[in-house]
Symmetry: C3
Subunit: 114 residues, 3 copies
């Protein structure tokens, strides 16, 4: 068994790789700004974390998108649709949920092939 962690604190890791699969959860870089800027900063972080784990955004498997306000659905998707490589979209759930930091408008849990 191989199990590799990145960015591990007492509470959580940025990502964990096991058995050819990488798991990561990301939030916006700052708890301010609109859904476009927050989604963009979050997805930029995701790209860095995927690269660190030996993966990339062509290998997404399943993504859960948590929106603090479902009114941001179109705004999040506008950034998402441009970010996902053509033909490589993961399966995806999107639900509204209150997040840990009231300034965050979006959080994503991602599973990808490593």
């Amino acid at each position: 068994m191989t199990l590799e962690r990145f960015g591990t604190t007492r509470r959580y890791s940025d990502s964990v790789v096991h058995n050819g699969t990488v798991y990561l959860v990301e939030v916006p870089a700052a708890a301010e700004g609109d859904i476009a800027s927050q989604t963009a900063s979050l997805l930029a972080s995701v790209e860095r974390l995927l690269a660190q784990a030996g993966s990339d955004k062509t290998k997404l498997l399943i993504v859960t998108v948590y929106l603090a306000d479902m009114a941001d659905y179109d705004g999040m998707n506008a950034v998402w649709d441009d970010w996902v490589p053509a033909g490589c979209a993961p399966t995806r759930a999107c639900v509204q949920a209150r997040l840990a930091n009231p300034g965050w408008r979006v959080e994503m849990a991602i599973t990808a092939a490593a």
Copy 2:
């Protein structure tokens, strides 16, 4: 690494298969009707997607059930309990969350063995 996608649009895929595991997210066929009919149509779609990915409902691993209203818990379970083959139930989380389409009463994220 094998990675196969089904029903891929710019935004998401119906299902993704990787390393012997299939990931899929499904919603009701129509954004109307009661929880019984929506759960039934959703699970019928799940069966088709599982078959397409080389899996079936005896191989469910973990399911997350999102209900727009937790008052639908018993109604969803009545359909679910009849649908899951005896002895094959996955581990399952069930929470209330506002969904992307206000007419949807249920959404499910599913991981199964392929």
Copy 3:
């Protein structure tokens, strides 16, 4: 393909093991008490389920924490931070969601290496 289930009822299993990965969802032992006692009882159950599946809390991959009230975030984390072995924290999402039993303050969905 190996696929092993534990604690299977008509509706769900306590845990499912497939391909070197264990999936489980847990809630508090009782639908009463504060967030500290509920988180502690939940995590004690998680340890038992992980052991039953041939895993342990040093092998956590990704955890989704559902809190009935985000005001319990610090209380949940106080127990969590003490429970997770140093250097072994999984990646983790934490969102607020109404749960199936109104007495539950927390529910966790866990993926771990088996």
